[in-house]
């Protein structure tokens, strides 16, 4: 188990290094000169050179890479040139909002998808199963930015039930959370259903039946735990979709999270903030998947007890 944990942590560190390097390379490909962007067209050549020197742009690429990596480790991504504050400070302000949104969406998705998946699996190929499977297929195909717009139109503009923008009240969280949770609900419902159906054919379920256990007891002791173990991994990966969905959803609802910060920074070409956003999101994703892997190992004795 300890060896497994160490290997997973090393892999996570490696992946974070890779992500940082990729971001460094991509941002250095920018055709526009960042110094020129900051100083503006009216700047003299001397001013530009001074700025480049200050930003370290005149140093050899490897030196730049080294100081960039050092910045990643210490959380220093330079200053936002539009707002003249450290990029990390902007990210730190936006991150809790996104975290709250993601947490609510995952929680809501679990609460909704669990009973749906169980009911569909228990009544497999019956009408209720058909409705649930077809429904989740449709929901999975819904473009999240479009469903956000449609929900805005219905609940905010037409019915005037819910506010549309920012983080002024708990109610303003309902629509973005729903939009973020929908694809996750569809995915989890399908996974729980197919996981339970698959487990249902396993020998130990028949053993439990032969022991005279009732179907509900079998479902909630023997079936659920085995069905959930592989699903946990997918939930971890689904966080990636969730964080990506947050970029779109936050833009639609002008929700002050890290996704909206990323998109607006891209539009004004504020690359230090873009870097900070991307690396922080990727780090969150890697961290979540690390936790998921450890949870997986804890739940499955075959992994936990492997030498």
């Amino acid at each position: 188990m300890l060896g497994y944990v160490i290997r997973r942590i090393l892999l996570a560190v490696f992946v974070l290094w890779g992500v940082s390097t990729v971001v460094f390379i991509i941002v250095r490909l920018v055709p526009a000169d960042p110094a020129l962007l900051i100083a503006g067209d009216t700047a003299t050549a001397d001013q530009l050179a001074a700025l480049r020197n200050q930003m370290g742009l005149d140093r050899p690429p490897l030196v730049q890479y080294g100081s960039f990596l050092g910045g990643v480790v210490t959380g220093d991504f330079g200053s936002s040139y539009t707002q003249s504050v450290p990029a990390m400070q902007l990210v730190a302000q936006a991150l809790p909002n996104t975290a709250l949104l993601a947490f609510l969406a995952v929680l809501g998705a679990l609460v909704v998808s669990f009973p749906l998946g169980v009911v569909a699996a228990v009544r497999v190929n019956r009408p209720i199963d058909r409705i649930v499977t077809t429904g989740s297929l449709i929901v999975q195909a819904l473009p999240s930015f479009w469903i956000g717009v449609v929900l805005l139109l219905i609940f905010s503009r037409t019915l005037k039930w819910l506010p549309s923008a920012d983080l002024t009240s708990a109610q303003s969280l309902i629509l973005p959370t729903t939009v973020l949770a929908l694809p996750l609900i569809a995915l989890l419902t399908r996974l729980i259903r197919s996981g339970l159906i698959e487990v249902n054919g396993e020998g130990y379920i028949n053993t439990a039946r032969a022991k005279g256990m009732r179907e509900p007891a079998i479902l909630f002791t023997h079936a659920i735990r085995n069905a959930l173990i592989p699903i946990i991994t997918v939930v971890g990966l689904a966080f990636g979709t969730l964080l990506g969905g947050a970029v779109v959803t936050e833009t639609v609802f002008s929700f002050p999270g890290i996704g909206k910060l990323l998109v607006s920074s891209i539009h004004v070409r504020d690359y230090s903030v873009v870097q900070a956003c991307v690396i922080v999101i990727a780090a969150a994703f890697v961290l979540i998947n690390l936790l998921v892997d450890l949870l997986y190992a804890y739940l499955d004795p075959r992994v936990r007890l492997a030498k």
Partner: protein
């Protein structure tokens, strides 16, 4: 044929389990398969009945039908009865049959690894019948589980009770399965290919354990196998199945020494060691029939060395051929010729 079996005066006492004309169908995307077609047999208290056949012959389906374990919704009992203790299990709702599982009829399966839940300690799994069915507390149930594990020969049971299934060998896993099955002292134990997944040396140990337990508890056993050798020493009677029917049944020595169905004879002839040295083995030609498209008449006739045109005309029913021992029934119109070929 039912009349013949009922008239069988050898059995004065009424059987513990009586399967009558059982019919099971499976719905597949390619059509309906009649997996069992008119299967009848009795199990007396304390005796061991072996059910033999190739895969697809219906032997496992028979046990699934008794335990209400037929895969839903594909498989269902469409006719016949399974009488146990005055109750027809074929007509009862599944939940009612499950109440009898473990306390009256228990079962062990072919693959002991997949039959044990990988994420629970084996102690908890063996204790489950005590806790769930008898409502015992956890401590007491685990103490009973420990006793059982010791009884089935798990070495160092005090420590190993908290291990997980993947930490045991195949033979040990089957011992754990047996411990679980006998926990509530069932009157009948169905063993579905209990040794097929095991090494030959371990096979013998498991069969010995089953025989010992049977002697101690007096439970009846239905031993399902495809291996004629495995059951030879422990079963008193045998039923041979082919394409969803019992084609020959009787005392095991009688059937093994004087097979009267060409299929049984073929099976016995294809066992290595059953012949004089140097004589080639004689396998049965052809392959088992497709249940979706059974041959007309006797299902075995396309592979039968002594088939005649009449074999295609009608499905032969079980009968007691001339010269056969009491209780030896064969479903072949040429049973007398098979015997005379000996």
């Amino acid at each position: 044929m039912t009349e013949q079996l009922v008239a069988d005066s050898r059995r004065a006492q009424s059987p513990l389990l009586s399967v009558r004309d059982l019919q099971v169908e499976f719905t597949t995307s390619a059509g309906i398969a009649r997996a069992l077609d008119g299967v009848s047999f009795d199990v007396q208290a304390g005796e061991t009945l072996a059910i033999l056949g190739e895969s697809g012959s219906g032997k496992s389906v028979t046990s699934q039908a008794i335990m209400a374990l037929l895969p839903k919704p594909a498989g269902s009992i469409v006719g016949g009865s399974i009488l146990y203790d005055g109750i027809d299990l074929a007509k009862e709702p599944v939940s009612r049959v499950r109440d009898l599982c473990a306390t009256d009829i228990a079962m062990i399966f072919q693959d002991p690894l997949s039959s044990l839940n990988p994420v629970f300690r084996i102690g908890d799994q063996v204790a489950e019948p005590f806790r769930r069915r008898l409502g015992m507390g956890k401590k007491e149930a685990l103490a009973r589980a420990l006793e059982l594990l010791k009884r089935v020969g798990i070495a160092d049971a005090e420590r190993r009770i908290s291990n997980y299934p993947h930490q045991f060998s195949g033979g040990q896993r089957q011992r754990i399965m047996i411990a679980m099955a006998i926990a509530l002292k069932p009157r009948i134990l169905i063993a579905d290919e209990p040794t097929t997944a095991l090494d030959v040396t371990v096979q013998a140990q498991i069969m010995r354990l089953l025989a010992e337990l049977q002697a101690e508890t007096g439970m009846a056993m239905i031993l399902i196998s495809h291996d004629l050798g495995v059951v030879a020493d422990s079963a008193s009677r045998v039923a041979i199945m082919y394409a969803g029917r019992i084609i020959e049944t009787g005392g095991i020595r009688e059937v093994y020494d004087h097979p009267q169905h060409p299929y049984t004879k073929g099976l016995l002839d294809s066992i290595p060691g059953a012949h004089a040295m140097g004589e080639p083995l004689r396998p049965i030609v052809g392959s088992p029939p497709n249940l979706l498209d059974l041959p007309a008449g006797c299902a075995f006739h396309p592979r039968c060395p002594i088939a005649v045109p009449e074999c295609r005309a009608a499905v032969p029913s079980l009968r007691e051929p001339e010269g056969a021992a009491l209780g030896h029934h064969v479903a072949c119109i040429r049973a007398e010729e098979v015997r005379s070929h000996d």
